[in-house]
């Protein structure tokens, strides 16, 4: 049994146009010690996936509907009462977000926010929690942690804020950490520092990590297994090395080829995927990539392929070309 099993997760939101399905049938597992990446461009549903696992959308006004299962240690946390879910959040599964400045409450000190998290899940005194908070800040590489613990988020630099965010997420030693674009807003040199830290968490504490990103570089450099999402569906998953070298799905192929690396030939035009990502509400019955695909056949427009094993073991692809 995997630590986290997502089975056929489908999330729909209430909009003026009726219910719109943001992700449709997403399934994957995360084991202890494992670092899995979800790759995709904006609007592909990668963030919705992570926030659905955490159930971060307010459910009181029925604006969101979930289908499928999210099994954490075998327990379906997608359908337990909303109130009980709070016990798992932060304690078992924690999350870090892209924009640390917006994600930290501006009116509380960094320390207060960590102490709050600690005291929700653990029975400790304020003083103990404070000491623990300082320790956590030190661990995440914040110099002068005993002083910074009383700083407000706006007083810290971008990199420091992201570290504080990580300290907050680590506070209860969760078994799974979801990192939603943790380095996108940061400069490359700071990016490298933060990624190094996340990789260490995975190695040292055996924390299962779901890395959500649009940056193929970050995935290629740090992850073993990855999933590619397009318009709310996983279109390909597998081992990073194989997938980057021999991508199968036309979208994955295009994505990897269109990103320039320092080895790209300057005199040739870059490979491009035609057209634009369609709107979610415009998705038809067929394969969601059919409008932009070079290999699309009649069938692709009417029937949606399912995610099937192809190539090496553990490699799945959602395309008729490989049936």
């Amino acid at each position: 049994m995997s630590l986290l099993e997502v089975k056929n997760l489908k999330t729909s939101f209430k909009t003026l146009r009726g219910m719109v399905t943001a992700i449709d049938g997403v399934s994957f597992n995360v084991d202890k010690d494992e670092m899995v990446a979800i790759i995709g461009e904006s609007g592909c549903g990668k963030s919705v996936t992570s926030q659905s696992i955490m159930r971060l959308y307010p459910e009181t006004d029925q604006s969101v509907e979930y289908e499928g299962e999210v099994l954490f240690n075998g327990e379906d946390i997608l359908h337990i009462p909303f109130k009980e879910m709070a016990k798992h959040r932060g304690n078992d599964i924690a999350m870090i977000f892209q924009d640390a400045l917006a994600s930290l409450n501006p009116v509380f000190t960094v320390g207060d926010q960590i102490i709050e998290a600690l005291r929700i899940h653990k029975k400790i005194t304020k003083k103990e929690a404070r000491e623990e908070a300082i320790k956590l800040l030190e661990q995440t590489g914040i110099p002068d942690a005993a002083k910074r613990v009383d700083a407000y988020p706006h007083e810290l630099s971008g990199g420091m804020r992201q570290r504080a965010m990580i300290a907050l997420a680590l506070s209860c030693r969760p078994q799974i950490l979801i990192a939603d674009e943790p380095t996108t807003a940061l400069d490359v040199t700071i990016q490298a520092q933060i990624m190094e830290m996340i990789v260490n968490l995975n190695k040292e504490y055996g924390m299962g990590i779901i890395l959500i990103t649009h940056d193929l570089g970050v995935v290629a450099q740090h992850c073993k297994r990855a999933m590619v999402m397009y318009l709310g569906q996983i279109v390909e998953e597998g081992d990073v090395e194989t997938m980057f070298k021999h991508p199968m799905h036309p979208y994955t192929k295009g994505l990897i080829k269109s990103v320039p690396t320092t080895k790209t030939d300057k005199d040739k035009p870059l490979y491009t995927i035609n057209g634009v990502v369609p709107k979610l509400s415009e998705a038809g019955d067929g394969c969601r990539f059919c409008d932009r695909c070079e290999h699309a056949t009649e069938r692709c427009f009417h029937e949606c392929p399912s995610l099937k094993a192809a190539g090496e073991e553990g490699h799945n692809v959602r395309c008729f070309l490989y049936e």
Binding site: L16, R17, G18, M19, S281, E282, A283
Partner: protein
Amino acid sequence: MKNKITKEHSHKYLVFKKLCSNKLLLIFGILTIVIVIAGILAPVVSPYSPYDMQTSLRLKAPSAAHWFGTDTYGRDVLTRILYGIRMSLVVGILTAVISTVIGIILGLLAGYFNFLDTIIMRISEAMSTIPVFLMAITLMTILGISTKNVIISMSIVYIPLVVTVTRGVALQVREQTYIEAIRSIGAKWPRILFRHMMPNVLSPVIVQATYIFASSMLVEAALSFLSCGIPLPAPSLGNILSEARTVIFSSWWLVTFPGICLIIVILGINILGDALRDLMDPLSN
């Protein structure tokens, strides 16, 4: 897929449809439209003259001949209400338009030029330290009581509000890249201000203008109620209520009908303002 069903409808249509789902608001909205149309057509639809006094008909309760009864001078209340609505609407619209036009220009200038910002905003802040109603009544005392002066005083009173709103939006718009882009092409400030910035500050200001419309009708009614507004004997909703003050507890119709009409019209305009606000909200989804 169920996503596709309403694809062809525009976002604005969907917002409008959602607004209409609040039945209570819809009813008030329709009532307002009826009352406003009746007010506009007052000279055509009203059976009597608003000024004809008939002492024999003093303070008659509602009847078939006089649906809303008669007042202390024997005038038909319904007729006076219809003319009164007309008057209140005209005063409200003119106030909203004048204060908005002047306010937009000043607000844009303040939002674009830093040196004007300090001057305009200080003055505007000083003016808003005096509460709207007090300011209006003070101006009325000084200017003298006349319909024209009601409009002038209320316009002055609301200008700082428009300036503040406009300037706030203008400051945001100024930072948008398309303003920098048009500047980098070589455009001069009048073009930037009035061709590029103005259309982009307009929506929140128009919403504000409808609120000013409603609120100025309230203020006008209160001014007239205290005999500092529209001079008698011209009918305005405030005047009718003011004249009824002495007999208020014996002749209920003199307060009830004009009062309800006033509330419904103002409510209707406020609903309009809310609807505009929701419709003009930047396209989400």
